[in-house]
């Protein structure tokens, strides 16, 4: 079955390539889009918008208690002050991880995700295993990520069924007193902002 799957993938690749190109050509020829427009969009999401944005939000929340409070009260407004927002970026809600409560986000119906602060979602987030299991067996899913949560920690899973987008604010690692926001941001992993991981510790190799 292994080689069949590879062949299928290879043929899907060329098939999809051709079909996507066909669509683009048609839209260009009919004057719906300017040629450079597509490139700008790809460039933006491939290179410019990514989890680094969210890491900055989290790092600021770790050092600035007023910002932190504002972030949990009105995520959209607080995050906008850092220059992040836009499509799929409206109605951002920040979720606070505490020793008692661990938050995890999913979109079981499709792949809704806070693009403005995390960029485009990884394949696993959009996959059937995650979408089907995150709401029913979050601890099992965390095990797939090598994460073991204490037995009595409450797990809150948030299914993004509307135009709210969720950003998990993980707990600040110990041993980071006095660190700059920029240095702290380096510790914040994408997975920790979805809820399937934790931030790096000061000792971890980057």
């Amino acid at each position: 079955m292994e080689h069949d799957r590879h062949d299928d993938h290879a043929s899907e690749l060329s098939d999809m390539q051709l079909r996507t190109r066909a669509l683009e050509t048609i839209l260009l020829e009919k004057g719906y889009i300017e040629p450079a427009a597509i490139d700008v969009l790809i460039e933006t999401y491939e290179k410019k918008i990514g989890p680094r944005n969210g890491a900055q939000v989290v790092a600021k929340a770790w050092v600035d208690s007023k910002f932190r409070q504002w972030l949990f009260e009105d995520g959209t407004a607080a995050i906008a002050t850092l220059g992040f927002g836009g499509r799929s970026g409206n109605h951002l809600v920040a979720l606070e991880n505490t020793p008692a409560v661990h938050n995890m986000t999913v979109c079981t119906l499709c792949s809704c995700y806070p693009w403005a602060v995390l960029g485009l979602p990884p394949l696993w987030y959009k996959s059937a295993p995650y979408r089907s299991r995150a709401v029913a067996d979050p601890r099992g899913v965390l095990k797939d990520f090598g994460v073991d949560l204490p037995k009595d920690t409450e797990i809150r899973v948030w299914d993004s069924t509307a135009e709210l987008r969720y950003l998990v604010v993980p707990m600040r690692p110990a041993g980071t007193e006095g660190w700059s926001e920029e240095k702290l941001a380096d510790l914040v992993t994408r997975d920790s902002m979805i809820g399937t991981g934790f931030p790096k510790n000061p000792g971890d190799a980057s």
Binding site: E34, A37, I38, S132, W158
Partner: protein
């Protein structure tokens, strides 16, 4: 609709397999598929709810067999056909075939750059007061519409607690089918893991969904 996309609570898909250093796009065409979808959104050819509905209407074998961006391309093809932007022959040949209707104007690169910065909120003015308040116990209706909805099967019929009043938002169930925004109050409703999954459910887990007022009834 109860389509293949409504996956919450399903078994059999295996473990979650994260890919180390996963690129944003696994192939160039994926980036193009993504960008084309964004652009058609800006051009307002159709709305996002109609697009989602079209995607989830794909027959389950097709839905499950396509990759993520494969789904986007496939859905885009169907939307272009349905909305008269392309003919089947044009899709086959990969070119516009004269005579065709030229677009009113072309979306520019500057607009695309701008789009990622500007919010396009789905919130609308409320015309009625909200029926529920934070702390209210509500039941998600046992509804099975054939049309688009954002109430997942696993939540239907279950009792949860309103934890937040989000505001008045465009209602996808209406917006997908007939372009009518029909805004309704939107709430974040939290359900207990054991209510959703039965006595063997994880007692330490809760699941929240964002539910529009028409999905909910007072307990």
């Amino acid at each position: 609709m109860n389509g293949a996309a409504d996956m919450g609570g399903m078994h059999g898909f295996g473990p979650v397999v994260p890919e180390k250093n996963e690129p944003v796009f696994h192939a160039d065409w994926e980036g193009h598929s993504f960008a084309l979808n964004m652009v058609t959104g800006v051009a307002n050819l159709w709305n996002i709810d109609a697009f989602r509905f079209k995607r989830e209407s794909l027959p389950p074998p097709e839905y499950l067999n396509l990759s993520y961006y494969g789904l986007w391309t496939r859905t885009l093809e169907l939307m272009m056909l349905e909305y008269g932007v392309a003919t089947p022959e044009e899709l086959k040949t990969g070119h516009a075939i004269a005579p065709f209707k030229k677009a009113e104007r072309a979306i520019t690169a500057a607009e695309c750059d701008n789009m990622v910065r500007c919010a396009r909120p789905f919130s609308r003015e409320a015309t009625e007061p909200a029926k529920f308040k934070a702390g209210d116990k509500v039941r998600a209706k046992n509804m099975h519409p054939r049309h688009h909805t954002r109430l997942p099967r696993y939540a239907r019929g279950h009792v949860g607690e309103v934890v937040r009043i989000v505001g008045c938002h465009v209602f996808p169930d209406s917006h997908a089918s007939n372009r009518d925004e029909d805004p309704h109050w939107l709430y974040t409703v939290r359900f207990d893991g054991r209510d959703l999954w039965g006595p063997d459910g994880d007692p330490t887990s809760t699941v929240s969904v964002d539910a529009w007022e028409p999905y909910l009834e007072k307990l």
